[in-house]
Symmetry: D2
Subunit: 340 residues, 4 copies
């Protein structure tokens, strides 16, 4: 393992797109990187009076750190990104409603003639020692202690076809997937579309519910350590996630059933190739043994995961066991690696 690399972006280094940017650093396959990511509001919301639509300005939302140029990553390869540690960098997380954004309001893509919901900010106390995030109601004396479950909402590479996409968008290049499965201990597989892959990450969440129904999670800056590895000559059509227990395929689309179809189709195909089952036998196995964790139902594309426990795959090993290898990397001191 190479010596750890640290990249702390200056404010002007932050990116708002996947693709279309010069790299901020170069990594080798096998490198371990520690970086800092700003929250989705660029740190501009710190009190309940900082209404996001006033203190933020489009398109300067959802900044990501990167792009990181991965040496030797070429179109047709797969980039494995293993999350060694994700630690909130502030003791307070923020959430909010945002005008015409979220699943229980009309939006710019599902417009109605109704006025927007009230814009309101919530602050959450984050206790990394206790492993908790505390919700406090704004209009009542009501507290709920929730488990801390740090994750990155936005991780991706440059898109194919010369495209450049806003960091708000999830698609086959990754991006704003907004799934709680991208926590420490997980490995994300992304198909490489351009020389160097151009990896970016950001949008840390202290936790989020499945679906991110209000459009905003418990947003917080993060100190994050990842390890990257290039898997040569292996195509990955949609993002995939491996945890210690399960394989997951990610689909991003609208309507939501198409995100479901994409994720399930990829998991069936992947299962067939890992087990040697024919397509219908793999379809049947996934149908009875699979789960379907919801990512987001609020972003420009929705995200669904199709998940299968590894125990149902016999001796099959994905991507030449890169997850198991990268899982051995010791977390940095004071890290949160999902194993406490």
């Amino acid at each position: 393992m190479a010596a750890p690399i640290t990249h702390i972006p200056a404010k002007d280094d932050l990116a708002y797109t996947f693709g279309g940017r010069l790299p901020v650093a170069h990594l080798q396959s096998g490198d371990v990187l520690t970086t800092y990511t700003e929250d989705c509001f660029g740190g501009a919301v710190s009190t309940v009076d900082d209404l996001p639509s006033r203190v933020c300005q489009m398109p300067y939302l959802n900044p990501v750190s990167g792009p990181f140029f991965i040496e030797d990553a070429e179109p047709g390869d797969t980039l494995a990104v293993h999350f060694v540690s994700i630690v909130p960098a502030r003791p307070v997380g923020v959430s909010s409603t945002f005008p015409h954004f979220g699943a229980l309001t009309s939006t710019s893509q599902t417009p109605t003639l109704q006025p927007p919901l009230e814009e309101r900010v919530w602050l959450y106390d984050i206790d990394t020692c206790a492993g908790t995030v505390t919700y406090r109601a704004r209009n009542a004396d009501y507290r709920v202690v929730l488990p801390l479950d740090p994750m990155h909402g936005t991780v991706g590479v440059a898109p194919a076809g010369f495209e450049v996409r806003s960091t708000i968008v999830p698609d086959s290049h990754g991006g704003n997937l907004d799934t709680p499965e991208l926590r420490a201990g997980a490995t994300l597989y992304l198909g490489v579309n351009v020389h160097g892959a151009m990896l970016c990450l950001g949008d840390g969440h202290a936790r989020q519910g499945q679906g991110e129904v209000s459009g905003v999670a418990v947003e917080v800056a993060m100190n994050t350590t990842i390890a990257v590895e290039v898997i040569k000559g292996v195509v990955t059509p949609w993002p995939r996630i491996e945890s210690d227990d399960a394989l997951m395929s990610v689909g991003c689309a609208r309507p939501l059933e198409d995100a479901f179809r994409i994720s399930q189709h990829d998991l069936v195909t992947w299962t067939a190739s890992l087990t040697g089952l024919d397509m219908l036998d793999a379809y049947q196995l996934v149908a009875q043994a699979g789960t379907a964790p919801v990512g987001n139902v609020c972003d420009p594309n929705y995200t669904m995961l199709a998940r299968l426990d590894k125990q149902y795959l016999g001796a099959a090993v994905a991507y030449t066991a890169v997850h198991e290898r990268l899982r051995q990397i010791p977390p940095p001191p004071r890290a949160w690696n999902g194993r406490r």
Copy 2:
């Protein structure tokens, strides 16, 4: 508690609709009922050569037992249906593909010019002692032992507005919800639309994956014990489920995001009424603490659940603690009640 009532339907007693039928038996609020339900193929598929499209005939699919007339249930009330025990009545469960049905094929509602997938049947060994269901591939020597998790795919009451709906359809009256959450130990709440409620149930699954992606679960006849209770004067707009740990709201619609919206909207509303939080504070809590278990993505309406752990609801108690009361009912001998 009243003495248990047993109703074993004759083949001609089976129903294929919710609504439009005379009751097969009358129950009082508080009664415990043991009944038998046929599988979705009416028991006609017992070998891999029994292709469902040949041995079954539309509309004689997905039979249900009932309707049971619940004394004192009136429009505007809620019917609580607690599953005391659900036990597979046969040692073999069946599954299949079905022409132009399922999420990874074109269908009658999403038609294309492509021919259907191959129709293929799978048999599963069910071991109620070991608590397992065993998948065997058809075109490979491949076995996977899965946990037995018996549930009912189809439970509902007569619809509102004088409608009669096929048992294939899930909607606000319940019906073909196809969610694994309807297992023993759970309580289903259904709004009553007609005098007597007219409860029916069927479509037992030894288990199913989230989404029921191939369109067919591990189908099996069931011996099932339920307890019913009428909650007077309480309106329930969409089906709700309570387990020992969580409250769940069910949404049925297409596209899938509308099923998501319905379920989340109901859970937010329900949370607000249980806690006294205002709507936006409840929205925020559900957004960060909720999960979204997928039911089916193959039936005429799709089903999504919105789920919140009870521990995040403080001292709030749903429906005057009817779940806690009914949970005390002892299961019959040799029952499967989800507590083994």
Copy 3:
């Protein structure tokens, strides 16, 4: 041609479902029927102060006249319903917004946490001599004279599979199609699902825009003359419409692309069978020559039409030229038959 039959329903004769009702009259294939249909509000809205949500009560909305039992109509046959004349029965049509109904508001199927739009009623002067319908703004001195184009929003038969459906719903049995193509001079083809077909019609519109975006057209009671004919042994899977110039297939579903797919799939299949083209050649012809008139985007299912000019079909004749035969029926005196 048989002597014309007249059926004027009493208020208590009106139906609110397709299926589930005894017939109000019996017709022979070839009969001509004149009937009266109430407007979708049951005539309860006659001033701008009659807010529909107050003066109407669910489920007593969208009444239809019928069912008419058509002798000799059996499952597997097709019922041709030709509209000889549709004449507004009142000089004023009404429209409105309705809480949480319409395409530019959240609804019960697409719920949000936003309050409903204002409920407002508009009255339209209908001049059957001039052939006009006059819009008047409520909050401005603004009038627009629009063409009178009378049509029926709701026409259908009893559904298959023992179902009974609300008259609000469009589906394969017809129902609340809400397409302006159902005007005088058109022939509607419906697959027969039950003995006698059980035809109902209602929901007259003095005119409507494509999509019925606000959820309510210019609603008015109608005096309508139809002719019916049974086409034995011909299956019609989805409603079809024939005008003097074109053939049209109707699809009803959500999401809207599925309504589009159903309609286009049926038109491609129909074109292939009429011309002898193979499926791909028919697909190609429809792709370049077809149009896609929108019906409704507000009802429980949306409606799309796929339309092909007859001139592109060579000598092909649909349904043994029943449209041409029925088109010869002279309209009654003072009728509106689309030929003025």
Copy 4:
């Protein structure tokens, strides 16, 4: 009026994205430009044996001419693009099926486990004197003469938010709208997102059906003359089209009802601002008087138009009558301007 400018792109000048490219020429507001556009296959399909998936290579599909830098166009302005003339540059148009593309097949966004439809090419004779396009079946002796109706499927400007989008994609920047309304005589209004607007156009169709159901129109290179004008300080949120008779708003989204909602919402808003009606009065007028021409139901976003006849808008004039001014520009000799 300035002297006409001619720009004939070399093969290497063709663009495959909106945004991300340097301009090929500079235009002033008021300029008239004549350019050449290649067909969507880059001219590679000229016989029925040239299967597109073999002779074309992703992402080199759907080339556009441009970008043209429009002097003085700034974010917050509107660019008016008037089509003076669109003339097929070849006597033969081509169409095809394409594997897993189109509305009546599973696709990469709506995947299934079914194999793709047969890939087949059709050639169409284009007669610009007679104004006809002739369909010939591949597997039958069947010809249909259709009206020539030349249009551009793809016209747009650089997107907002630093994005670069494939020319296959329609969205708020325009792009692959694929609506037959973009014919000679029409004016397209596009919101300007970047300095210079960066206009591109291509994807000529000799004609297409509404919905472009097979995914491919009658594709042909075009000789096209446009006039451009910058309307300072006027924001246009979604593409709009003005013809001599009507105003149209364009929505691009999935599912199709969201494209419908966007287009109707924009037309209602636009109508209110043109007439002074309040939002609900405008909603009501559009609901009864509007039509909804379908664009495409096959591209990454679907396209719907909301259309209102100008005669229903009284004396209202859109965009300071730029359409009426540009409509006076005489077409070049031998042009096709929709007025023959």
